[in-house]
């Protein structure tokens, strides 16, 4: 309902935007009728709900052959692929960095890791993306860039890195402080005293207990990753939900905007549900409680 209300107060006329200013009055009236703009707000809301229940999320006028769901089905996997690649890259960088910083607290390594994470927190996607393109695509030619098709081999590396660096910064700080809390616990000393190898002590006893706050942050930050993906898609000229949504907003294409926002919000809520389930898998005590 919030999505519907927000979008319907947009003052621009969607018919103007879709047909251009030179369209005839007859064409306009037809388009208006097709989009349901001649109906009252309550009826339009009914159509919106109808679109949700029949799974189409509305149809694209004037032909009505294309459904919003089919547009989203084409764009969304690309965005999800980017978002998950970005998150994976962030975790792969953040966990070793955070653990190393916690183990060598106060050392040059700790200062370097935390300095790197502060830089990651401060550099916006809109700066990091173009810099990566200039260095690795234009100057060195090592990786594909915006001019290559998104299916090219390695095309995901630069966008995922640009997207993941910000999350990496947040996660490595969280990993460090969470590991620092855990390292002082009695069970860590017991594990060491039992003669376990340092790797087993740190990974099995330390990291597993430190993971809960890290997983929480991953869930909370997933919204940020989806928002970041919208920006990264623009910077790397990748097709996806960001491109679909921004074009739809510019055209005032109501069904597409509603569909995109709804789809992203539902995914966000679902990921947070998965995070809750993951708590139980990582820490059986939470499942029991």
């Amino acid at each position: 309902m919030l999505v519907f209300l927000l979008i319907h107060v947009i003052p621009g006329d969607p018919v103007d935007n879709l047909l251009g200013e030179h369209a005839t009055a007859e064409d306009r009236a037809k388009m208006r009728e097709c989009m349901g703009l001649d109906l009252g707000m309550a009826d339009q809301f009914g159509r919106f709900l109808g679109g949700i229940t029949d799974g189409t999320l509305g149809r694209i006028c004037p032909s009505k052959r294309v459904t919003v769901t089919s547009l989203i089905a084409r764009a969304f996997p690309r965005t999800l692929e980017l978002a998950f690649a970005g998150m994976a890259m962030a975790l792969l960088m953040a966990l070793p960095l955070g653990i190393a910083a916690a183990l060598r607290r106060g050392s040059g390594l700790d200062a370097g890791a935390m300095g790197l994470s502060l830089v990651g927190l401060s550099v916006p996607y809109m700066v990091l993306g173009p810099v990566l393109i200039m260095v690795f695509y234009v100057k060195l030619g090592w990786l594909p860039g915006p001019a290559d098709p998104p299916s090219a081999r390695g095309a995901l590396v630069l966008p995922a890195f640009a997207l993941g660096l910000h999350l990496m910064a947040i996660l490595s700080r969280m990993t460090r402080s969470s590991m620092l809390d855990v390292l002082g616990e009695d069970y860590m000393r017991t594990a060491r005293a039992k003669g376990l190898t340092p790797t087993t002590v740190i990974v099995k006893h330390g990291l597993r207990n430190a993971l809960i706050p890290i997983i929480t942050i991953v869930g909370i930050q997933f919204g940020g990753v989806l928002s970041g993906a919208i920006l990264i898609e623009k910077i790397f000229a990748r097709p996806g939900m960001g491109t679909l949504l921004i074009d739809a907003i510019s055209e005032r294409n109501y069904p597409v905007i509603q569909g995109c926002v709804l789809c992203i919000a539902v995914t966000y809520v679902l990921v947070n549900l998965l995070v809750d389930i993951a708590y139980g898998l990582v820490d059986p005590r939470i499942r029991v409680n």
């Binding site: 919030l2 999505v3 927000l6 979008i7 107060v9 947009i10 003052p11 621009g12 502060l118 830089v119 927190l121 401060s122 550099v123 916006p124 996607y125 809109m126 700066v127 993306g129 173009p130 810099v131 393109i133 200039m134 234009v138 620092l180 997933f222 919204g223 940020g224 989806l226 928002s227 919208i230 920006l231 623009k234 910077i235 949504l245 921004i246 907003i249 510019s250 905007i257 926002v261 992203i264 919000a265 966000y268 809520v269």
Partner: protein
């Protein structure tokens, strides 16, 4: 007495680490540039000189020029003021609205708390930028006011949650019970006993919040939905990206400006948190 009358913010700043002080210095510089920038700018941020497009840095144009021959430094200095006005207003509104609602929810409880928390849940169901984007898109040509409104619609939520959490921890403490037992009104308890005890985390969160607002504002401008001013930092980044093949300087100048200011706020926020959070001081 003099030390006691100093604000908690200044007291915390005095005892900060070196990195905190670096952040504080960056912010003083940013504030000065926002105040004086338009006076210091050598040219108008809209003056065009089509023959002098994409000039390299020189004595006349320290950072060079853009595709229309406009001086980049002048645009950056004018943009600093826009960034400061938007982030300052957004944080001020978010803190006042968020903390008030959070304290009210925590102190009153019952249906009032339930209502406020459900509104927060609804707003949290949307990724931040998406909601901001949907709201700015409501207006055909958004100005600074529209942008501030869009950034405030969900920006207060974090402050409200934090303030409520703090109040829940405090509301049954002895000094609150004592105030209640001598007949201090609910409003009096909130204003004189609860609020002063939760200022430290609010200061830290607001400082870190500035960094976030600057990032979101520039992201919206970059996507073409910001305040319609060609020299806002995000709009400059957007233009710079278009001409990336011709001049990397065009992206780097506003990009570095945003990164340095955001870094400054993050350093100051971290420094203040280390000073103000007793748990961190001990560890």
């Amino acid at each position: 007495m003099a030390a006691r009358s100093r604000s908690p913010f200044m007291q915390a700043v005095r005892g900060m680490s070196v990195s905190g002080w670096i952040g504080f210095s960056i912010l003083i510089l940013f504030t000065l540039l926002a105040l004086l920038g338009p006076l210091l700018a050598p040219y108008s941020p809209t003056a065009q000189d089509l023959d002098g497009a994409f000039q390299a840095p020189s004595a006349a144009h320290w950072l060079g020029t853009d595709e229309q021959g406009t001086d980049l430094l002048s645009m950056l200095l004018h943009g600093a003021r826009i960034a400061a006005i938007i982030s300052g207003s957004v944080i001020a509104i978010n803190v006042v609205v968020g903390v008030s609602l959070g304290v009210i929810a925590g102190a009153l409880g019952g249906w009032v708390e339930e209502l406020i928390m459900r509104v927060i849940d609804v707003l949290l169901a949307f990724p931040g930028l998406l909601l901001n984007l949907a709201i700015v898109a409501v207006v055909k040509k958004p100005g600074v006011g529209h942008l501030v409104f869009a950034l405030c619609i969900n920006g207060w939520v974090g402050y409200a949650r934090m303030a409520r959490g703090q109040v829940l921890a405090l509301r049954n403490r002895e000094f609150v019970e004592a105030a209640r037992s001598i007949g201090v009104s609910r409003l009096g308890i909130m204003r004189r006993h609860l609020l002063p005890n939760i200022t430290s985390p609010i200061i830290v969160q607001a400082t870190l919040g500035f960094a976030n607002v600057i990032l979101i504002e520039s992201a919206l401008s970059f996507l073409g939905f910001g305040a319609q001013m060609p020299y806002s930092w995000g709009a400059l980044l957007d233009q710079g990206q278009t001409y990336l093949w011709l001049s990397t300087r065009y992206v780097l100048a506003p990009g570095i400006a945003i990164a340095v200011v955001v870094l400054g706020f993050n350093l100051l926020g971290d420094g203040l948190r280390d000073r103000l959070d007793p748990k961190r001081q001990n560890s």
